[in-house]
Structures are given as C-alpha cells and as structure tokens.
C-alpha cells in the first residue's frame, strides 16, 4: 500500500541545516553547496560582511528614528542579515524581487537609496522607489500576496524568452496563506522560473512557526512538485550558494525552487511590538549565539582578513549609510495635499476631478476672509 507519511523529523532542528560556516566561524564543507561559492574568496566574503554590517546599521538607525518620532513604524530585520544579503547578492540585475515589508537589506543590496528606503516608514509614500530602477517590486503588506506576483512575473519571463528569474521573499507565517500555496501550484504548473525564498525567522508576530507548520517548511513544496533546500539562514555563504543554485535551476528551464532559510527575528516584530509577552530571554540568548554577523566576523578573523583597518572602513561605510538614512529622512517634506488625488487612474476621471476641485476650494476657504472668520469663531 502506498501510505505517504510525514517523515519523522518534525522539528526545525538546526543541526539538519545545510551550512558552510559554523556558529564558531569554522568554514565547513558541503559538496553540493561548495561549487556555487567557489569564486568567493576573502575579498568577496568581506564584501558580504560589510553588507551585513551596513544592514544592521540601517536597522539600528531606523529604529532610533522611529523612537524619536521621525518614522511611523519600522520592522527590524536584525538577525536576518545573512539570509537577506546572501540571497540578494546571488541575484543578477535583470532578476526581479517581490518582497514583504521586512526585506530592507535586500533593498539595500538591490541599490535602493536610503531616502527611498525610508519614505514608506515615514508615512510619506506607499512606495519608496521605482521598482524598474532596481529590479525590486514595491514591498507587499498583505501577507503572501506577492508570491503570486512573482510567479506571474516569472511566467512573463518565460514568454519573453529571457533567462532571468523572479524571487519571492516571504516569511514562515506567509506559508499558511492560501495565496502562497496557490503560487506554488501555478509555479509548478508552468515551470515558472521563480525562486521561493522563505525566511523562517521562527515567528509571525507572536506566533511561533510551529503553529503554521508541523513539518520543516522546506518539506511543503516538494508535494507541489517543487524541489526545496533548507539552509542555515544565519550563514551568509550557505544562503548565497543555495540561492545561486536555485536561480540556476530556474534560469536553465528546470522551473521553480524553494529555499527555507532558517533564521531568527532578534528584534520585535515591528517597533510597535513587545516580544516579552510571548518569548523568553533564554531563547533570545540561544539565538544571539548564532548571530549571522558574528560568525562571519569569526571566520574572517580566523583567516586574518578582517584587519583593524578593514574593520574601520566597514564601520565608516555603515556610519555613512546611516547618516544618509537620517539626513534623507529628515529632509523629506510632506507632499502637497492635493497630490492624494493623483495616480488613482491613468487619467483622472471627471467625477474625481470635481471632487479634487471641491476639496481644493474647501482648503482655499480657510485662506479667505470668510474662512478666517470661521476659524476665529471657534
């Protein structure tokens, strides 16, 4: 009889993860992954390290800006630097990213400017950058919705005969949404060149991953006909290798692939969240020991690559980016009120034009004598 039982491994134990850098900084070897990072030497690893340090600095700066009332909200990515930088550095310029709200290190790597990155979180615009300039779509807040966009985009790539790929970034929580599962159905049906990149950061706000999935998340996609990889998401080299492999798989006509990057959200869900209500210090401490920056630093130190000088230049770069972020943020000026009526349609319809004009007249009434009187009267 053909009984297909879930395999017995129901945990997301870290020792089952593909890895190239151990938490203590030791360089491990993996015959499947190694070939994909054969070109990564000291200099390349240093660059990845710098990206991660910069990403964390962006995160710290933005969190501070939020605390100072300069941002309406910020979703920290601290802890997920390796997952985001490693995967984003695997991409080509003509690949296209569809992400959720937390992928700010991905945006940084894609070349998004600091001012553009911060617009959304200042409540200034819903989209910080032009997606076509950087090959990264405007982040999607509706959990899971962007996975379908990535698949559709990938279907377009096929129709154009290109060898680019689309990448969908999403979280462990997003795997429960119907959209994410439909995305796998469609991707498999059309062999779409899309990489599903799931950052399993152990939480969807307060809910541990165990509520969303009874199996390692990487076990989900094979049943849809999509091969998967499960990597240590705090290992920048393993993530880079895995993503390169998956992209190659997609580009060469082998269809979609799924990566679960096992990582940890070291900060709160957003600056509005209070994680002490749902997880304990001991757990946070356990993961702190697996910090993605620290292990890369250890490897670089062991190899003698991270000289004081180089560490200083990394810090300087991080400071410069942070300054760019802060200055960019503070320099943002509110848009003109009537701009809220723009870009609802390609051509504003007459009825909406009338609405805008009425509102303009209303605003103007506060300037004229009558308006002033009204104001005074209150």
């Amino acid at each position: 009889m053909l009984t297909i039982r879930p395999s017995t491994d129901t945990s997301t134990r870290r020792d089952r993860l593909s890895r190239l850098i151990a938490p203590d900084g030791e360089r491990l070897h993996d015959p499947d992954l190694d070939p994909w990072v054969a070109d990564v030497f000291e200099e390349q690893l240093l660059a990845l390290y710098e990206d991660m340090v910069v990403s964390r600095r962006i995160d710290t700066e933005a969190t501070a800006l939020q605390r100072q009332g300069q941002l309406v909200l910020w979703p920290p990515l601290i802890g997920q630097e390796a997952a985001q930088v490693g995967s984003a550095r695997a991409l080509r310029k003509d690949d296209f990213v569809f992400s959720s709200y937390r992928e700010n290190a991905v945006a940084y790597v894609r070349g998004v400017s600091m001012t553009d990155m911060i617009r959304v979180w200042r409540g200034s615009q819903f989209s910080g950058w032009n997606p076509y300039d950087v090959g990264m779509a405007t982040p999607t807040v509706i959990i899971g919705a962007q996975t379908l966009h990535a698949v559709g985009y990938a279907m377009g790539i096929t129709r154009d005969g290109d060898d680019a790929a689309a990448v969908a970034y999403f979280g462990d929580g997003a795997t429960s949404e119907g959209d994410t599962n439909e995305a796998m159905v469609f991707a498999a049906a059309y062999d779409a060149p899309v990489v599903f990149f799931c950052q399993n950061n152990q939480y969807a706000i307060s809910e541990p991953v165990g509520l969303q999935a009874q199996r390692p998340i990487a076990d989900r996609s094979p049943g849809f006909g999509i091969p998967s990889l499960r990597v240590d998401g705090n290992d920048v080299l393993a993530v880079l290798a895995a993503t390169r492999m998956a992209l190659d798989h997609a580009r060469t006509g082998d269809g979609p692939m799924f990566i679960e990057a096992v990582t940890y959200r070291m900060g709160p869900h957003t600056t509005s969240d209070d994680p002490t209500r749902y997880r304990d210090k001991a757990e946070e401490q356990r993961w702190r020991e697996l910090d993605p920056l620290e292990r890369t630093r250890r490897l670089l130190m062991a190899e003698g690559a991270l000289t004081d000088e180089r560490q200083a230049s990394v810090s300087a770069r991080a400071d410069a980016v942070a300054k760019e972020l802060r200055d960019g943020c503070l320099a943002l000026r509110p848009h003109e009120p009537l701009s809220i009526f723009d870009e609802v349609y390609a051509d504003t319809p007459p009825s909406l034009r009338r609405e805008r004009d009425e509102y303009a007249a209303y605003l103007a009434s506060f300037d004229d004598a009558d308006g002033a009187n009204r104001e005074a009267a209150r």
């Binding site: 032009n130 405007t138 007459p350 009825s351």
Partner: protein, 327 residues
C-alpha cells in the same frame, strides 16, 4: 459590419486584441480547449497558442495574482472569472493589489488588467451562478467597472478595456450572450469606455440601467409610449467612475429618475446614483429617485428568480410611481 451574438462579439474583440498587441495574454479556468463555459474564448487557444490563451489551475486568487505579476512585467492580462459568484476567492488580489498598485507606486507600475465576469441572473441556474457583484468593485477606487449590453458595445468595450492602462472589471450580461446585433470592428469612432449612452431619448422620466436590463428598459420605454409616457433610457456602460454628467443632463430635462439593477438595492449602484442625482438636481426633481432592483436577500433559487429580478412590469411600476400615477 457583421451580425454577431454578444458572446461572439467578445470573442472577436479578444481575438482582435490578441492580434493587435502581443503583450495581451488571456488567463482563466477552462478557456483553452473548452473555450470557456460560455465558449467566449472558443478557438482562441488554437489560434494564438497555449502561452497566450492560458488554462489556469482552479484558483481565482492565483489567476488575478499572476496577472498582477504579468502586468508588472509589461503584459496586458485578460482574466476570465467563470461566474459572478466565483469572484470572491480572488477579491483580495483585486482590491488590495490590482486596484491600488498604480496609486501605491505613484504611477510607476501600471495594472492594465481586464477581469471579465459573466454576471446576472435569469438563466435558471444553481446557487452562485446568477449574481451581480458589481457594487463591491465600484466602491473600490482605482478600478474601472463597466458592463456591456449590446454586441457592438461588447466588441468595442472589450477592445477599450484591454487597451486601458487602468484595471477594468468587465461585466458581461450572461443572459444576453446569445442576443444578436450588428458590429463594426472599427473602434476609432466609438464613445470612450467611461461614457454612458442614451439608448432611447425621452422627456418624462429618465430610466438608468446597465448590462442585462438595458434591453428590458428599452422594452419598457416602448410599452410606456403606448401609455403616453416618454422614457429616456440611459445605458450606463461605466458603473465606476460614473458618467455623472450624462445622467444629470437627462434628469435636468425629465425631472424624474428610475434606476434599475439586478443587484440587491441596499448599497448598490442605484444608491449612489440616487444620492448623486439628488445632490446635483435637487431643485429639478419632481419625485424622489426610485430604485427598481433585486431585493435585499441572497439571489433566490431559480424557480423563484422571476420574483427577484426587475422585469418590464416592475420597471413600469417604478415609472408610474415617479410619474405620480401610483403611490
């Protein structure tokens, strides 16, 4: 100029759109070999290939969501939702993504997606196959919501919808699919997609409707003529945005308005039109705007659907009321 059924007019429009622009892609359940459950895409997959006329897995969010991705990549997807009652599993992608993407991105990302929905009742079918969900879409800024009522409009409007850089929810009056009419395929001279049309000119009462009820309204106007009442029938064509001026112009002339649709009355398109007309024509109105609509109940089992659907008699009853004949 050829005589076509309304369904075939859409088929022809889709074929011409596929021919005119190779970025046009059709997506939907059973639209390939089967040609769709109403055969509207009949023959198109054979002619344009499986990459342009795409049978999709059975998942409406998937259809709309992948269309968003295709649009992101510069395609012009045309999605078919099989029946009115099956739009809701895809509703989130329509409301939170399709409708808002241009606004969200300050115009950087266009969503030239057409979502075709066969709608309305009167076909004696089972649950979910006879509904009129247009008001849900019309209340959603960023969407254009249109309904065609004649073969000519079916042809021209589907061409315009596909060419529009805005997302268009395109309602097709399924019980009129087999009604015939002359169709010219030159769309350079046809009215733009957002304009209403005076179908029957008149002077006493404005009767506004769309989709399947336009023919009923025309019949009502003919019948009323015998009673000496002159009805001006307006086919809205665009439900959102509304061609307010066309309606207002008519009411300025007649002073009375009846609005008819199959959807439930509460919060339907008729409410918006009544409110708007009252705002803009208050002093001219000699009677309150009156709605002749589906009742505020779910669409009933088909054996009683005639008691749900506005028909000629109910329209004339409405006209009598605004004329003060009945109260």
């Amino acid at each position: 100029m050829t005589e076509l059924t309304l369904a075939k007019a859409i088929t022809t429009g889709l074929a011409d759109a596929l021919e005119a622009d190779d970025r046009v892609v059709l997506l939907g359940e059973d639209i390939g070999k089967l040609g769709g459950v109403f055969r509207v895409t009949d023959g198109l997959q054979e002619r344009f290939g499986i990459d342009r006329v795409v049978d999709t897995p059975l998942a409406e969010a998937g259809i709309i969501g992948t269309a968003v991705g295709l649009a992101y990549r510069g395609f012009r997807p045309v999605c078919e939702l099989q029946f009115d009652g099956f739009v809701f599993p895809g509703f989130d992608q329509v409301v939170t993504q399709v409708a808002k993407m241009r606004y969200r991105t300050q115009g950087a990302v266009k969503m030239p997606i057409t979502i075709r929905v066969p709608f309305g009742g009167g076909i004696g079918s089972v649950e979910h196959h006879s509904e009129s969900p247009e008001a849900y879409f019309a209340h959603t800024p960023g969407l254009r919501v249109v309904a065609c009522s004649s073969p000519q409009d079916a042809y021209s409007m589907i061409r315009q919808a596909v060419e529009s850089d805005d997302p268009v929810v395109f309602f097709e009056p399924k019980r009129r699919y087999w009604s015939k009419g002359e169709v010219v395929t030159d769309v350079s001279a046809v009215p733009s997609l957002d304009r209403a049309r005076v179908v029957v000119p008149g002077t006493d009462v404005t009767l506004v409707t769309y989709g399947p009820l336009v023919q009923t309204a025309v019949d009502a106007a003919l019948a009323a003529e015998d009673d000496g009442v002159s009805i001006e029938v307006i086919d809205l064509r665009s439900l959102a945005p509304l061609d307010e001026d066309a309606i207002v112009d008519s009411v300025q002339k007649t002073g009375r308005i009846v609005i008819a649709h199959e959807a439930a009355r509460f919060g339907g398109i008729g409410a918006e039109i009544a409110a708007m007309v009252t705002e803009r024509c208050f002093d001219r109105l000699t009677a309150p705007p009156l709605r002749v609509t589906g009742h505020d109940i779910p669409y009933p089992p088909s054996e009683l659907e005639d008691h749900y659907l506005p028909d000629l008699d109910r329209m004339l009853d409405g006209v009598d009321r605004v004329m003060g004949v009945r109260v």
